[in-house]
């Protein structure tokens, strides 16, 4: 992509002096070979979880929401927690593919495709929850402003409706972004494959892409525009998700800090998930030279930054609860940290704020086992953050007579497990069917890939020597 800024010399993004042909072979290998034993084990675990989720989904739809642990006053629980959790996971993909692209961070090329795929699968997983939470998901069409026999339109002042628009737009744009990124790579696979069936599939999916420069020129511009619109989009999505809470009057939800706090948390949790999976994937598919320790270290830095932002938001919430002098507000926060759900609060606080501080040390940032443990803790912590925000705010609100505790049922647990199963099954299928690193983007950033001369037609072929941006 047009990465033309001149940098001080960095470590190469692709190690071991891989040639362009090597890159083709390494990255396309999983799509060309039969699945390994490891892959079969992985997908059987994930599809078992998916099956458990499917059974729980059946119970939910057949018998209704009564199968969940939701009660009065905890009307929102696992369903909404999982929704917010998975939507948040998706944000890392767009951040990597769009925001880091706009900031000319070349290292993003190694992980962008994978992270974008994660975005799409995470948004699909997230989308299930609000739909089944309606109780009769087959009537989900009424969430959209479609003409109907009742002559009724949706309520445009409701944050829940904004959510419908935000999430569906987010999915569409992420899918387009991912899809156009895949076109040149599918063309590479098309020209590489030896199977006629595969060739025909790739032929159709790559739309007859010819690698022509006149096409590349428009392609790059479209990519830039998509990155430009995805950046405000990704910020808007979790902002709007936070409005679901912030626009209500429940103490603990009704705060103006929510939008930036949610966005930082989303990026934090997304990077946690990307790291978790990448650490395994780069090992299993022998891509340690393309997805290097350097990549993981940079992601750890982002985790440190966003984790600290999230920690700041936690503290600021507490401060404002005291500073506002609002009794209900201060009670909610004291109840969060020292009430019956204090365990959840401290799991959240330690996983999201304390442990990521270890990333200040370079040795820890570059140690894969420690990184792996810490990013798993980030995933746990961010799930509990949503639990804390939703359940502890609801379970003790204004009227002490209606206070209640929330206990998840087996169906709740099954759906949570199933959401992981759904996400990982899709991810494993993706890893075996499509190139998990963008081949054309990585080729563009290997050493010597870009010309060091920049001639113009009117010079009649006489090249102008320049400093050049190739390493």
């Amino acid at each position: 992509m047009s990465l033309d800024a001149t940098y001080t010399r960095e470590l190469p993004l692709v190690e071991n002096n891989a040639t362009l042909k090597d890159l083709d072979n390494i990255i396309a290998l999983p799509t060309e070979t039969k699945p390994t034993k490891g892959w079969w084990i992985a997908i059987s675990i994930s599809s078992t979880a998916l099956l458990i989720g499917a059974i729980s989904l059946f119970y939910t739809i057949y018998y209704g929401i009564g199968m969940w642990g939701n009660n009065q006053p905890v009307g929102w629980a696992f369903g909404i927690i999982n929704f917010v959790f998975w939507i948040g996971i998706g944000h890392a993909g767009t951040l990597i593919s769009a925001i880091l692209f706009l900031f000319r961070q070349k290292w993003r090329t190694g992980i962008a495709r994978f992270a974008e795929a994660m975005t799409i699968f995470a948004v699909m997983t997230a989308g299930i929850f609000p739909i089944i939470h309606t109780g009769r998901p087959w009537l989900g069409g009424y969430l959209l402003p479609l003409p109907n026999q009742n002559g009724v339109w949706v309520n445009f002042m409701s944050p829940l409706l904004w959510d419908v628009f935000a999430v569906s737009t987010y999915f569409t744009i992420s899918f387009l972004f991912w899809g156009i990124g895949l076109i040149p790579d599918l063309a590479i696979l098309r020209d590489k494959t030896t199977s006629k069936i595969k060739k025909n599939i790739y032929k159709v999916l790559s739309l007859g892409w010819t690698n022509s420069n006149r096409n590349w020129s428009n392609y790059e511009r479209a990519y830039l525009i998509l990155a430009g619109i995805s950046t405000p989009l990704v910020l808007s999505v979790h902002t709007i998700v936070s409005f679901d809470f912030a626009v209500s009057v429940i103490p603990g939800w009704h705060t103006t800090i929510f939008p930036p706090y949610f966005v930082a948390g989303a990026i934090f949790s997304g990077f946690g998930m990307v790291s978790t999976v990448l650490i395994i994937v780069r090992k299993v598919f022998n891509m340690e030279h393309i997805i290097t320790i350097g990549h993981l270290e940079k992601m750890n830095k982002i985790l440190l930054a966003t984790g600290t932002m999230v920690g700041f938001a936690y503290s600021m919430e507490f401060f404002v609860a005291w500073y506002s002098g609002n009794t209900f507000e201060s009670f909610t926060f004291v109840n969060r940290a020292f009430g019956p759900y204090a365990w959840a609060y401290w799991i959240m606080f330690s996983c999201n704020v304390f442990f990521p501080q270890l990333f200040w040390f370079r040795k820890i940032r570059r140690s894969i086992p420690i990184t792996f443990i810490l990013v798993i803790l980030v995933n746990v912590g961010m799930w509990f953050e949503r639990f804390v925000i939703i359940v502890t705010s609801l379970h003790r609100d204004f009227l002490p007579s209606s206070w209640a505790m929330f206990t998840p049922t087996l169906t709740d647990m099954g759906l949570l497990l199933g959401s992981f199963g759904f996400f990982f099954t899709l991810l494993f299928l993706f890893l075996k069917t499509l190139p998990l690193v963008s081949i054309s983007e990585v080729k563009a950033v290997v050493e010597g890939a870009q010309p060091t001369v920049h001639p113009h037609p009117h010079t009649n072929g006489k090249a102008i020597q320049e400093g050049g941006d190739g390493h």
């Binding site: 007859g208 511009r221 037609p457």
Partner: protein, 405 residues
């Protein structure tokens, strides 16, 4: 067994790289050259553009920085499409919200105006982004890059296999005004090409027929659409209206009236009232079946008023007039079908007490059945007032005429 089958299938489908030459025509599409390094190709592109060739293109595995300048290309125009559709998306979203919540379905929500800008911003923003994104991608692919074009002459060639992997290529098309085979070959070799090859059109490129308008194709599409629509209609109707849980709450755990239930000893879902229960408005008539002489003392509880008389007229016209006639003369609309009742203007009826008439309406008399089920007690008394009015109207005195004025 299955593994063997799959292996066999793979054997058959093993792609033969030479096979695609079969469908090529004899007509030349262009001359292609391959280069080893990015610097060579960018210089070659500048030379080709500098010589004045226009119908040429450079093919690289990834975008080369500076190639647009070297080829003398204009800036890409995708941005205009994005901008126009972005604005359209914004306007459409705002108009949609304004019309739906402000005009077509105005609802008071939180005491706010039917349409107000601040809560409309999120959806307007998403609409803008959505249309921009879709238009950018479709515009880039279809409008500017003329894709999908699966049968491009360049695809399935060795040239394409090289440029999509690690080589850099250039093609000058034969329909360029300056194209001569010898010149182009010399040009390529002088710029350091390591391989020059001819690219021929496919047979399918030369026919003017568009496969999209093929009769078989169109009828297949229409057929599929119709079959899918019909099948979907029936499946959706069956699934969404008859199976649990899609029963729209018609099926509920309750006992409907007239339906059996094994819960009660008599297997009836309905319960009978306790003996002696009297439903509201259904107080039994205490003189039922007795001769009319016993009820002469019943007095009309209603005072005469305009409303009572009008109510009486209304009920009389509905329930009594079919036999007795609108004026009580016994000439009702059913004459001939039923025995004609005697006139109500007879001396006998005039001398009856109100209680006596009430007894006849309630209990029935001769062929006249009881009207207790159809006419409520108060209405019966109102009818009696009206009958009295009718009798009086039949032989009104002059004073009555004065009163009516």
């Amino acid at each position: 067994m299955i593994k063997k089958l799959i292996d066999k299938l793979n054997e058959i489908n093993k792609f033969d790289r030479n096979a695609d030459n079969g469908e090529r025509s004899k007509k030349l599409f262009g001359l292609a050259a391959l280069y080893e390094t990015p610097n060579e190709i960018i210089e070659a592109a500048a030379v080709v553009a500098g010589k004045g060739y226009e119908k040429f293109d450079v093919y690289t595995p990834y975008p080369l920085h500076g190639m647009d300048d070297a080829m003398g290309m204009d800036k890409p125009k995708v941005g205009y499409v994005s901008f126009i559709f972005g604005l359209t998306g914004m306007c459409l979203a705002l108009l949609m919200i304004g019309w739906m919540s402000g005009i077509d379905y105005p609802n008071i929500i939180g005491g706010k105006p039917f349409f107000s800008l601040p809560p409309s911003i999120p959806i307007t923003f998403e609409g803008t982004i959505l249309l921009t994104g879709i238009a950018t991608v479709l515009g880039m692919l279809v409008l500017f890059n003329k894709l999908p074009k699966i049968d491009s002459p360049l695809n399935d060639t060795d040239f394409m296999r090289n440029v999509s992997s690690d080589k850099y290529g250039i093609v000058i098309q034969t329909d360029d005004d300056l194209f001569t085979e010898q010149d182009v070959k010399n040009l390529y070799l002088s710029t350091g090409a390591y391989n020059v090859q001819e690219i021929f059109y496919r047979e399918s490129n030369l026919t003017t027929k568009t496969p999209l308008f093929d009769k078989k194709f169109i009828s297949a599409i229409i057929g599929t659409a119709v079959v899918t629509a019909v099948v979907t209609y029936f499946i959706v109707n069956f699934v969404l209206y008859s199976t649990v849980p899609f029963d729209w709450m018609w099926v509920q755990p309750r006992i409907d009236s007239q339906s059996p239930s094994t819960f009660f000893p008599n297997n009836s879902g309905m319960r009978e009232p306790v003996n002696g229960t009297v439903a509201r408005g259904f107080l039994p008539y205490e003189y039922k079946g007795l001769p009319d002489s016993s009820v002469k003392l019943l007095a009309n509880p209603l005072a005469v008023s305009k409303e009572v008389l009008e109510r009486g007229q209304d009920r009389f016209n509905i329930y009594c007039s079919p036999c007795h006639g609108y004026f009580g003369e016994g000439d009702g609309r059913l004459k001939g079908l039923f025995p004609k009742p005697p006139t109500l203007h007879s001396k006998k009826v005039k001398e009856w007490t109100d209680g006596n008439i009430y007894h006849v309406i309630t209990n029935g008399q001769n062929v006249m059945p009881s009207y207790a089920e159809q006419v409520s007690r108060d209405d019966r008394w109102a009818i009696i007032h009206y009958i009295r009015a009718l009798e009086r109207s039949k032989d009104a005195s002059e004073q009555d005429v004065e009163l009516a004025k």
